[in-house]
Amino acid sequence: MTDIDETPAGLRDRGLPGEGLDARLVVDRGIFRLDVALTAAPGDVVALLGPNGAGKTTALRALAGLVPLTGGHLCLDGAALDRTPPEARPVGVVFQDYLLFPHLSALDNVAFGPRCRGATKAEARAQAAGWLARMGLTGHAGAKPRRLSGGQAQRVALARALATRPRLLLLDEPLAALDARTRLEVRAQLRRHLAEFEAVAVLVTHDPLDAMVLADRLVVVEHGRVVQEGTPSDIARRPRTDYVAQLVGLNLYRGQADGHTVRLEAGPALTITEDLSGPVFVAFPPGAVTLHRDRPTGSSARNLWRCEVAGLETHGDQIRADLTGTLPLTADLTTVAAAELGLHPGAVVWAAVKAAQTHAYPA
């Protein structure tokens, strides 16, 4: 039997200097250039978050050695891996569609790694059985992958990756292949397994919820570059690009602050509660926006703009309105409010945001 949780929890949090992952991944493909720096201590779960085509998967493949680096460096626990072939790297990968070997049983899939790394057939199978038990899959050890459900296949893939006892675990869109219901359940399980994992885990996802639930730290990648990095709550509170703002559901603007006034790049000025100067971001949630058919008189909101409805969609139990005009923004309102306002694409409305509902921070 193997045991993943040998390291006491206290020791696992911050590794010794030189332990963990220290990488700068440069992959040059002519029209596309990836240049991403990644560091993580043992026990960290880092999510690479970004839109499709941002280079997340390329970064993951570079870490695994499936794509050669054209520059930068890759150190794991103090050892340089740049020139190490993939089969010799202490790296485990959970692929997007798992890539379980279809001709092998779940048990033999998991035993494949230990077997390749020198264990005898009996040892490898005993280890694999231990991993399957840990994943709650003992009853499915003999099943071929095509007979496993999506959630089961995902756990077999995780067991297979962990069975080689990697020092770096890579997960490529680990939940993307699952339907919504399974996803919820598997996400919770995966979170538990990742929390138990004592080495570095890097996962790639385009789903902000997966990233925030599973990871301690997010690295947002756009166009092959890191655009923002931090804890989930930090990123959710202080987005720095339109993509991140959209992910976390905030209206985001960039401008020049002078005291409590921000002159936005988009045009109008915004009143904030913070006292700042120089380049800043201003963010506010769509729920903070109130809409009026006529220009409100005597409103305490000093941030008031005339807008036109560009589009409407249901968002949970609310209506989300896309507005264009002096300041493009999104606003959430109840279905009743939307009906009372007579909202329809092309309708003219006044949008107000209280200064207290905005959040400004240096750019």
Binding site: N52, G53, G55, T57, T58, R61, A64, G65, L66, V67, P85, P86, E87, A88, R89, V91, G92, V93, F95, Q96, L99, F101, P102, H103, F112, G113, C116, R117, R160, A161, T164
Partner: protein
């Protein structure tokens, strides 16, 4: 990006389901189609009509027939084995690696498919014959002479049959998802281990189909065999050579031998029906 979904092997919809009933087929298409069908079937029918059914048991139990049949089966099987051992790695090289001139190599591999087998036999003589480019050294160093031996039959048949196997296996390899090999690599498998333990089992059906194709081709080989290995009963006289020879002096025996080969061909076709008779659209 690498996130592009790789096309999976799509099982084509059964042709019969999509085709319409014969009613509306235009005459200019229907007529040549029926003539073509008759053209393909008539000779086989003639073989059955003119078969000396009464003397057949006696014809087929003669020593020469058994000798030829045995030699054919053994040499075709040996040629298929040679093709497998050399052809599968060659197919892998063509499908999975990138090297300068790969297109040219593939063209050269397929050349024996279109080359007249007699020319292949002549070429083999010049290469492996007693005085051939390589053959003279084989003779001088190891005392091996291939022409006019059973081994020579195997060489001639493998030369003609191997391209069928290579083409078939290469196609299967290209359709197989190479990411399984990557997954194996990340688990610590060398490229060879990944090939042996993952790729090979995945493409086994394609290899089997290619092997059957190569075997059938080897069994029917005539031109290269008679040119390179000659026509010695019991040593190099395979069934097709026996048929040809029998036709000169004992037509009934030729028909009987042909029936045996036809039976073998039908058996091969039946074995492959799932692969070609239903899924080809």
């Amino acid at each position: 990006m690498t996130e592009v979904d790789r096309a999976r092997t799509v099982v084509p919809e059964s042709g019969a389901r999509r085709a319409r009933a014969l009613g509306g087929v235009p005459l200019p298409l229907l007529l040549p189609a029926l003539v073509g069908l008759a053209f393909l079937l008539l000779p086989l029918l003639a073989l059955l009509i003119r078969a000396p059914w009464r003397s057949l048991p006696q014809q087929l139990t003669s020593a020469e027939v058994w000798q030829a049949l045995q030699l054919s089966l053994v040499s075709a099987t040996a040629a298929t084995a040679v093709s497998l051992v050399l052809g599968v790695p060659l197919a892998w090289l063509l499908a999975r690696t990138d090297f300068p001139g790969r297109g040219l190599v593939r063209a050269l591999v397929t050349l024996p498919l279109v080359l007249p087998p007699v020319v292949g036999g002549v070429a083999l003589l010049l290469a492996l014959g007693r005085g051939g480019v390589v053959g003279q050294w084989l003779d001088a160093w190891f005392g091996i002479t291939l022409p006019f031996t059973t081994a020579g039959v195997v060489v001639a048949e493998a030369f003609v049959a191997m391209p069928f196997l290579v083409i078939s296996v290469e196609g299967t390899l290209r359709a197989a998802d190479p990411r399984y090999e990557e997954a194996a690599t990340t688990l610590g498998a060398s490229r060879f281990t990944a090939f042996r333990r993952v790729t090979l089992p995945l493409i086994a059906p394609g290899i089997a189909a290619g092997a059957v194709l190569a075997w059938a081709r080897a069994l029917g080989e005539f031109g290269a065999t008679i040119t390179f290995a000659g026509n010695f009963p019991g040593r190099t006289q395979t069934m097709p050579l026996a048929v040809y020879l029998a036709l000169q002096n004992d037509p009934a025996a030729a028909i009987a031998l042909s029936l045996v080969l036809l039976t073998v061909s039908i058996a091969v076709l039946a074995g492959l029906r799932d692969r070609w008779m239903t899924a080809s659209t």
